[in-house]
């Protein structure tokens, strides 16, 4: 018996089809929800489960649903954020490709709870296979009466469409995503109003991550209590970690919230590749500050990581050993941020390009002490002053790296070459 919840049965190739999924008990939670529970019951259940969004910010899901449900405007829209653009993150992919019905079932239950009739899955453009899988799964669900205009003959209507993004990282940010869904240039919107009150086409809209939705069927069928007993208090449940970098067994792991970084690396991923020594770990995707080796006992969840100066983000663990040049890492990261900055706000638009240019010179051995000062200053001028978290994160992670690994930056400047090699 598969102990996992989110990745349950994903080793079974038939699980992606509705027949396979149902053979493992799939869609029971939906039938139970629609048959026995009121929308209110479900929202209350999600609230008491303590589920937090898995897209990066860790916002309590039940609360979000309640806000949307209290808004008197209709229609209400349901959007699944499957943009998965954060570098290092590939944890939604196995759900999308191997457990599509779990996501769909989760979304239908949410739609029922929110009385939404229209849903969208905003899918990363570079996931064409997932698109095919999802579209087939939606058709199957339609044919089986789980989607459509009269779901389970209960006069409950919900239809679902997959929309592929065009490759912009910023379109993973929920309001930019909504702009993009509306057919416009994806740019973060001003908040408030929040999507729960004025989202897609100005209507109340719930945006949740793929993994978040994938938790719903379990909570509904096993109850909030059972769910809350997994993981840690204030941040319960299972969590997918996509581990990459210098470990022996990279991959996606489903583990309880609050597990330590050390356990992930050494117990589950087989330790550092080639037996080298650990230099640092990025715990939640490139936008989360790097963690020094001495802190790897930190529990991996939304509550504890901030105490170590970092964040859980998307749970994308990137492991660096002493063969890795930190300057290089952040030059590369800044290239990403520069390229993905939407250009809306001044500090991020201009600052990421500037920081990348200076980092490039440091990396190439073409920089002075003054440049390091300028870099620090520019990064400080960006952090906390941008329109959305992208720019803020770009500068923030650089500042953290410059603090912890300052001598590496200085080495580059003094010796005009890298310390590693």
């Amino acid at each position: 018996m598969d102990e996992r919840i989110i990745l349950r049965n994903t080793d079974d190739p038939l699980n992606a089809s509705i027949a396979g999924y149902m053979a493992h008990g799939g869609y029971k939670a939906l039938e139970q929800a629609v048959g026995e529970l009121t929308p209110r019951d479900i929202i209350d259940e999600i609230k008491s489960s303590g589920l937090r969004g898995r897209g990066g910010a860790g916002f309590p899901t039940g609360m979000k649903w309640q806000f949307a449900s209290l808004d008197p405007k209709f229609p209400k829209y349901l959007v699944c954020n499957a943009d998965e653009g954060e570098p290092g993150t590939f944890k939604d992919r196995p759900i999308l490709e191997h457990n599509p019905h779990l996501l769909i079932e989760g979304m239908i239950i949410s739609a029922y709870a929110l009385q939404s009739t229209r849903g969208y899955i905003y899918l990363r453009g570079e996931y064409p296979h997932a698109k095919r899988v999802l579209e087939r799964a939606i058709e199957e669900a339609l044919a089986s009466g789980y989607l459509g205009n009269d779901i389970l003959s209960k006069h409950f209507r919900f239809n679902l469409t997959v929309h592929s993004g065009a490759g912009a990282y910023i379109c993973g940010e929920e309001t930019a995503l909504l702009d993009s869904l509306e057919g416009r240039r994806g740019l973060p919107r001003l908040k408030p109003p929040f999507p729960v009150n004025s989202g897609l086409w100005g209507k109340p809209t719930i945006v949740n991550n793929v993994e978040t939705f994938a938790n719903i069927p379990y909570i509904v069928s096993q109850g909030a209590k059972a769910y809350a007993s997994i993981g840690v208090k204030d941040c319960p449940g299972p969590k997918l970690f996509s581990v990459s970098g210098r470990v022996n067994k990279p991959g996606v792991y489903e583990l309880p919230m609050g597990i330590s970084l050390r356990e992930i690396i050494y117990t589950h991923c087989g330790g550092i590749k080639g037996g080298g020594s650990l230099k640092g770990v990025i715990p939640g995707g490139i936008s989360t500050p790097i963690i020094a080796p001495e802190n790897i006992d930190c529990p991996m969840d939304f509550v504890h990581l901030p105490k170590y100066g970092s964040m859980l983000g998307s749970g994308a663990v990137m492991v660096f050993d002493d063969t890795v040049c930190i300057v290089r890492v952040y030059e590369r990261a800044m290239k990403f941020f520069e390229h993905e900055s939407c250009g809306k706000c001044t500090p991020c638009r201009e600052g990421t390009a500037w920081m990348r240019a200076i980092l490039g010179r440091i990396e190439r051995g073409d920089a002075s002490e003054r440049d390091l000062e300028t870099l620090q200053d520019v990064a400080e001028n960006v952090t906390g002053k941008t329109f959305c978290p992208l720019g803020d994160g770009a500068a923030g992670v650089l500042l953290a790296a410059m603090k912890t690994y300052r001598e590496e930056f200085e080495y580059h400047i003094k010796n005009k070459r890298c310390k590693v090699q």
């Binding site: 001044t346 990421t352 200076i358 906390g384 941008t386």
Partner: protein
């Protein structure tokens, strides 16, 4: 009550305002870049960051609303550093070419940099290069200077509703680009220009000739291109206009202008402006002195009146001239020469439409405020495109859509295409059919009980076409049903009536249907008005049967009033209208004519007929700013002063009285009222007028609707109807609807190979005046024939081909433009370009009920032009 503290100063308000607004109330200045009047906050430049107690990060003052107890700091060291940082970020890639930038001196970036200072150049990475383009006729785009505040894009999208420009690329490669590439090819309103805080989008008209300190003088005046009457500012140096800008604080247009108002001012300095009075001697017009021209005119008029009587004289007034000009012309014709033969081009559409509606509902029924359109939840448009005829009114209609209201257009949707849900475009001639169906449905659904038995009776007499007929004229049942359903739901509707309701037949029926629809919906009526003062021209008594203030000639008492002040009597009996004057000239009953600021040869159909009629006159005097087709037939030509050279008043389509102010005096022309007053004087008039104000004073003494309106008081919002005087009450009584009980006929379609021609109104041009504007000609230099692409194809013609259009009345040459908005078998040509005007190649009859223009002879052939 919300109480907050900003920099230790307490602010109290009872409204939920932003920190920025609250700070302004107590005189604390917070620098901004992306915030702009009338645009919703964007929060993107990050210039306005402030500290709020208990929040860890600085917040943007332009977006954050105040809450009770908030403590804000705008001047901490951290905030000063943040401001400096934003400026530094903006300057690292800026070309710093202020010495050659047209914006220098009024550039926010320049000002803020001086104030908050940017760090000394520590940017070593090499500036990026962005495109700079000069290809456009009126707009220069220099993306090197752009700070990406998106004020231009938001103006274009949210206010103008044109969606013509956008940010392209991403991150630091972002820049603003028109969707059409190098040229803007947009509505050219230039409102993005007023929004741009730096020199990134500027007007080409004053490229390198403008600096704020070059401006010697500026005046606030009213646009002279259309009947909206936008407030604008003329900025001048050495008697020429350097720039026209809107005024965000004044006027009904709240800072918006259209292409004509913003760029079309340069006709006033065209080299063909008339410079001296001319008299025809031995067949040639030769320059003479003012005295000679005035004396000669007075002498000729006196002689002809003596010989043939006052009834042999006629005057044509103008909607392009001021109220004072028009008043003086009717004074000359009526009270000095003794003839009621005075009319104007208002006769062609505007006057019959408005007076018909006033007959239905009373004086002032169309006097509604344009800014009020934006508060409506639905607008019904028929008979013309407001976005091209009265552009700033058109954008008010778009704003209804923007706010979620509904827009319905019967006929070609044109500039409102993106604002409607369904097309109600119909085959040529089927307008009444569509309107009847809609009215009948709305009447039925509303369960309307009328208080007006006359209208009620007529409504029940209507014969309603069945859906089949409507489908045959190209309207979908779905669209009709939707329109009727939605109209019934409107709480605050607006009905807009354009010229096509009258110009092509069925005039009284169309007006009745629209008037009744508005009545049943309890809406507000607007009638589109293409010239700036057509309404004023009517109010000044430039209409054969109506005196100053709108009183019918028959009213005796008024005659006495006039006699008392002017010492002259109102002639008896109704005079001749415009068409009767032309016929009279043709038949010999009219011997002399004074035409002021009008070009009947070009603007009345059947050019040959009008031309030959005017040629038969014994005496023709014309005052104008150019030697028009009409002026070149005259015996005397007076050079008039142009719009920018005049003081006086205009009355716009809302009946708002607004003051025109003299700016430049580049010509030697004189104000029309002055020319006319001199002629009157030479003919024995007792009054003398020192200035335009003294003319107005006389008007306000005589006209009951204008009584007591002081010239000086016409500032700010202008004089809004009713002016404090007394509007005339509705004329209770029946009115005629031609063919009321007839089933509207299915239009006869032109036989194959032939096309029905109608008049096009281009956004870029205001009738024929704008052909003297180099700027507007730069944007649209050639006559275009808009035609349905299928029809064009069936004629073997393709886009951009030069074609010859031939009717029974004449030929014109134009460039073919395929336009899917045109119904099949229909083409449109504007009445703008010399020798190729629409009206010169069609004929006309007179509508028996409205006495208005009914354009005929519209069946044309279109062929490829021979190679030159």
């Amino acid at each position: 009550m919300i109480k907050i503290t900003i920099d230790g100063i307490e602010v109290q308000t009872d409204r939920e305002i932003t920190i920025l607004e609250a700070a302004k109330q107590v005189g604390i200045e917070i620098p901004t870049l992306c915030t702009f009047k009338n645009l919703s906050p964007s929060g993107s430049c990050r210039m306005c960051l402030v500290e709020i107690e208990r929040l860890s990060r600085p917040q943007t003052a332009c977006t954050v609303k105040i809450t009770d107890g908030m403590v804000v700091r705008t001047n901490s060291e951290a905030i000063m550093r943040a401001r400096k940082a934003v400026l530094e970020f903006l300057l690292i890639n800026h070309p710093l070419d202020c010495p050659v930038c047209d914006k220098a001196g009024e550039c926010i970036l320049q000002d803020l940099s001086a104030k908050y200072g940017a760090a000394a150049g520590r940017f070593k990475e090499g500036k990026r290069t962005n495109p700079v383009s000069f290809e456009d006729p009126v707009i220069v785009r220099d993306m090197q200077r752009c700070i990406l505040c998106t004020r231009c894009v938001r103006t274009c999208d949210d206010l103008q509703g044109a969606f013509a420009i956008s940010v392209i690329n991403r991150g630091s490669h972002s820049l603003i680009e028109p969707f059409s590439g190098g040229r803007f090819d947009c509505e050219y309103c230039g409102n993005c220009l007023s929004a741009c805080p730096v020199g990134a989008i500027t007007s080409k008209l004053h490229r390198h000739t403008y600096r704020p300190w070059y401006i010697e003088r500026q005046v606030e005046t009213i646009c002279g291109h259309c009947g909206v009457g936008c407030t604008l500012t003329l900025q001048m140096r050495e008697n020429t206009i350097i720039r026209v800008i809107p005024d965000f604080e004044k006027g009904l247009n709240s800072g918006m202008l259209c292409v004509m108002g913003r760029f079309g001012y340069d006709y006033t300095e065209h080299e063909e402006r008339l410079r001296s009075p001319l008299i025809r001697k031995d067949g040639e017009l030769v320059p003479v002195s003012w005295e000679e021209a005035v004396e000669f005119t007075a002498w000729r008029l006196k002689e002809l009146v003596k010989k043939y009587g006052g009834g042999a004289v006629a005057g044509i007034a103008s909607g392009r001239c001021t109220n004072e000009d028009n008043y003086m012309l009717q004074k000359l014709i009526r009270y000095v020469l003794g003839s009621n033969n005075i009319d104007s081009a208002a006769r062609l559409f505007y006057r019959p439409a408005v007076s018909y509606l006033e007959r239905m509902f009373g004086q002032g029924i169309t006097a509604n405020l344009i800014p009020g359109i934006a508060n409506s939840d639905g607008v019904f448009v028929a008979g013309g495109d407001p976005t091209t005829i009265n552009p700033v009114l058109g954008i008010a209609v778009r704003s209804v859509w923007k706010k979620g209201g509904k827009v319905f257009v019967v006929g070609k949707s044109g500039g409102l295409r993106s604002n409607i849900k369904h097309e109600l475009n119909h085959a040529e001639g089927a307008g009444a059919l569509v309107l009847t169906w809609i009215l009948a449905k709305v009447y039925e659904k509303k369960n309307f009980i009328s208080e007006n038995s006359i209208i009620d009776k007529k409504l029940s007499a209507l014969k309603v076409p069945d859906m089949d007929m409507l489908v045959r004229v190209g309207v979908s049942p779905e669209a009709l049903q939707y329109t009727a359903d939605e109209l019934v739901r409107l709480k605050n509707p607006v009905v807009i009536i354009g010229p096509e309701t009258v110009l092509y037949g069925n005039g009284s029926k169309n007006l009745f249907l629209l008037g009744a629809l508005n009545y049943v919906l309890n809406g507000r009526l607007f009638v589109l008005m293409d010239e700036p003062n057509t309404q004023g021209c009517l109010d000044m008594g430039c209409s054969p049967g109506v005196l100053v203030g709108g009183r019918p000639v028959e009213l005796e008492t008024f005659g006495h009033k006039m006699e008392n002040t002017a010492g002259m009597k109102t002639p008896e009996g109704t005079g001749l209208n415009l068409f009767e004057m032309i016929n009279g000239a043709n038949s010999g009953s009219i011997k002399a004519m004074f035409v002021m600021g009008e070009n009947p040869v070009f603007n009345i159909p059947d050019k040959k007929k009008v031309e030959s009629a005017l040629q038969k006159l014994e005496f023709l005097a014309v005052s104008d700013i150019f030697l028009t087709e009409t002026a070149s037939l005259a015996d005397v030509v007076f050079p008039a002063s142009a719009w920018s050279e005049k003081d006086g008043t205009y009355t716009n389509l809302e009946r708002r009285l607004q003051r025109l102010r003299k700016g430049t005096m580049s010509s030697r022309g004189r104000a029309d009222w002055k020319i006319l007053a001199d002629i009157c004087k030479a003919l024995g008039m007792k009054e003398s007028y020192t200035d335009v104000k003294s003319v107005w004073d006389e008007i306000s003494r005589i006209s009951s609707v204008h009584s007591g309106v002081r010239y000086e008081s016409l500032i700010g919002r202008g004089g809004i109807w009713p002016y404090g005087g007394e509007p005339l009450r509705g004329i209770e009584g029946d009115f005629e609807v031609e063919g009321l009980e007839d089933m509207p006929e299915l239009p006869g379609f032109a036989q194959s190979g032939r096309v029905i021609l109608k008049e096009d109104k281009s956004l870029i041009h205001s009738s024929s005046l704008s052909r003297y504007s180099p700027a507007l000609m730069g944007v649209a230099s050639e006559p275009l024939l808009m035609i349905n692409p299928v029809t064009a194809q069936s004629l073997g013609l393709s886009d951009n081909e030069r074609v010859v259009i031939t009717s029974d009345k004449g030929t014109a040459v134009a460039i073919l433009r395929a336009d899917r908005g045109m119904p099949e078998g229909v083409a449109a040509l504007s009445n703008t370009f010399k020798d190729n005007g629409f009206r010169s190649i069609v004929g006309y009859t007179i509508d028996p009920t409205l006495k208005s223009l009914n354009i005929t002879d519209r069946v044309v052939t279109i062929e490829r032009a021979k190679q030159l």
